[in-house]
């Protein structure tokens, strides 16, 4: 891969990163907080590409150092560099992934592969009261940790509303899941929630639903990592479009 081709690849990579961070595409892969760094890195890649092309395509170096006859300023060889890295060709793959394929956020397949992320390890000592509202909007992670570690005490008999996607549970029953990220999708882990009562039925995996219900003290075990899965007693549900931020 010669230097001009490298410059083109850098330009594409920088452009793809900038495009992904200006649209909401990047939210499928990383946390929101990375956005300014992504934009800065993308711009730097573009600048590096432009500077490379500038030095490559300029007619001749103003002062080709005579003391350095075999140096790279020797523009007769114009880009036919020494040991130009061939492995750089691989950088086309992430460009392709971002610009052409743009894979979706992790969904039910990944949720089925991994055990539920809640473990007694992350138990905070006490939970603040739920915010106002009836039903009150809570995250799947928040509900699941209150239900498991607080035995539902801070939920009481309030009605809660949560949004998640449908995936197949251990015994084939649909369960509600949401992926949690700490850095990027490589460390994405599911939070799983069993449902009783008016369980959403007949929905394909990865369908997003909004369920309203109350605390249930039923608990199941995730066969993947033997962790506890709390339940929600569903009163009503409706199908919703996938949210912009699919991770919690």
């Amino acid at each position: 891969m010669n230097r001009q081709a490298q410059a083109v690849v850098l330009l594409l990579l920088g452009g793809a990163v900038i495009r992904a961070s200006l649209t909401d595409l990047y939210l499928n892969y990383v946390k929101e907080g990375l956005r300014p760094f992504l934009i800065a890195a993308g711009l730097l890649l573009v600048v590096a590409a432009v500077m490379t092309l500038w030095y490559e395509l300029r007619p001749a170096a103003p002062s080709p150092a005579p003391a350095d006859p075999a140096g790279p300023d020797d523009h007769a060889d114009h880009g036919h560099g020494h040991h130009e890295p061939r492995v750089g060709w691989l950088l086309i793959l992430p460009v392709l992934g971002l610009l052409l394929v743009a894979p979706p956020a992790l969904g039910s397949y990944a949720a089925g592969q991994a055990g539920t992320a809640l473990s007694s390890q992350q138990r905070p000592s006490d939970y603040p009261p739920l915010p106002d509202g009836d039903p009150v909007q809570v995250s799947v992670l928040d509900y699941a940790s209150r239900a498991l570690f607080d035995k539902g005490a801070s939920i009481g008999d309030r009605r809660v509303r949560l949004t998640g996607f449908i995936t197949a549970g251990p015994n084939g029953q649909p369960i509600l899941a949401r992926m949690v990220l700490s850095c990027c999708a490589a460390d994405g882990r599911p939070v799983k929630l069993g449902m009783t009562g008016d369980v959403p039925g007949g929905l394909a995996d990865d369908t997003w639903v909004e369920v309203t219900g109350r605390y249930s003290d039923r608990i199941a075990r995730d066969p993947v990592n033997d962790a506890e899965i709390p339940y929600l007693d569903v009163e009503s549900w409706r199908q919703v479009p996938a949210p912009k931020r699919q991770y919690e």
Partner: protein, 365 residues
């Protein structure tokens, strides 16, 4: 891949690096040599072909093909397993790009703008003392492993003793404020994990530095020849270094990301469940998992926290090994330092990291 490009034969009389060897800064062993000129045999015909079809043309053709076949390609990738693979691959790359770019910028600054004499003043003259200083410097610099490989390469190029540069390479991603804070957040009930991680990683970094002084051979490290770094125009040298390091280290990062995505999709977590009950197997399992998963050091604490079926000691091993040895790092180290180095350094670091982490776990946890 088909690059249609060959290495330009360089006259053997290439002048040595211009800087008067401002000294072997803390260097006990002979200076690390850069690779010599590439062999020129068989260059003729390939060269002529390379002149007619250059990389740019190949690249353009490839991109046109990809755009034309976009639809079938997207359909082929829509199977859930492949789709998850693609998502994980792309997200590892997106996550790593800022760290890679900023690390490369810093390494280019070191390679082009920081004079050799600076390192002579900044580091103790004796290599055995330079090692702990470099490890401590790693603690202060918040970096990711993807960025620290090119930085360590630049440090060696600028005459820093490899032992110190390698200690920095290991310490920088493993123990810095961001990583330790993330660990504290992930283990709210076990603050001793933060201490254990910091202490164990620091010990491993210094041990590996000193081990390199005792056993390391300078000719294991083969830094690729980089004549452009000696360019008269600092601006051109700087951007050439950035361009080269991003394509080079970035290419190896792609290899590592592909491996990590494959492991993520192919190894179901329930396999681990069966290993968790045996204390010895659980340590080995999480050590190997840390190598295979190649998670960014700022995120691995959360993954370790979720592996709740494993003992705290085995999870400490996961946290100590991960930032120092993983597929992504081995791949990048092979690219930057050469195969002979990476295939010795990575297993040695792995063994030292596991041993130190288990010992730390026995004392602290």
């Amino acid at each position: 891949m088909v690059s249609g490009q060959t290495d330009h034969p360089v006259p053997a009389g290439e002048p040595e690096r211009r800087e008067p060897a401002a000294g072997a800064i803390g260097v006990a062993t002979p200076d690390v040599r850069e690779e010599g000129p590439a062999p020129v045999d068989g260059d003729g015909p390939r060269r002529r072909l390379g002149d007619r079809v250059g990389s740019v043309e190949v690249l353009a053709g490839l991109l046109i093909l990809l755009i034309v076949f976009r639809e079938p390609l997207a359909r082929a990738l829509s199977a859930p397993r492949l789709q998850t693979w693609t998502t994980v691959f792309v997200s590892v790359m997106v996550q790593a790009v800022p760290f890679l770019v900023f690390g490369v910028l810093l390494s280019a600054v070191i390679a082009v703008f920081v004079p050799r004499s600076f390192w002579a003043r900044a580091l103790p003259r004796h290599p055995a003392l330079a090692v702990p200083v470099a490890s401590a410097a790693g603690v202060v610099l918040p970096g990711c492993e993807c960025g620290s490989v090119p930085i360590a390469g630049s440090l060696i190029r600028r005459g820093v003793t490899p032992a110190a540069a390698l200690a920095f390479l290991l310490a920088a991603p493993a123990i810095n404020p961001i990583v330790l804070t993330a660990t504290a957040v992930a283990f709210p009930n076990n603050p001793e994990m933060v201490l254990g991680r910091g202490v164990a990683s620091l010990i491993v970094a210094m041990t590996m530095g000193w081990l390199w002084l005792r056993l390391g051979r300078a000719d294991w490290i083969r830094l690729p020849r980089r004549p452009e770094l000696d360019d008269n125009s600092r601006g051109r040298a700087f951007w050439a270094a950035v361009r080269h390091d991003v394509t080079h280290a970035g290419g190896f990062l792609v290899l590592g990301a592909m491996a990590a995505a494959s492991i993520n999709v192919l190894v179901p977590e329930r396999w681990l469940q069966t290993l968790a009950d045996n204390p010895v197997l659980s340590v080995l399992a999480l050590a190997v998992l840390a190598v295979l998963l190649s998670i960014c050091s700022e995120a691995d604490a959360f993954v370790a926290a979720s592996l709740s079926q494993f003992s705290l000691t085995s999870r400490l091993v996961f946290l100590v090994v991960g930032p120092m040895v993983d597929l992504k790092l081995i791949s990048m180290q092979t690219g930057v330092f050469g195969r002979r180095f990476a295939f010795r350094f990575a297993p040695a670091t792995f063994a030292v990291a596991v041993a130190v982490a288990v010992a730390t776990g026995a004392v602290l946890l």
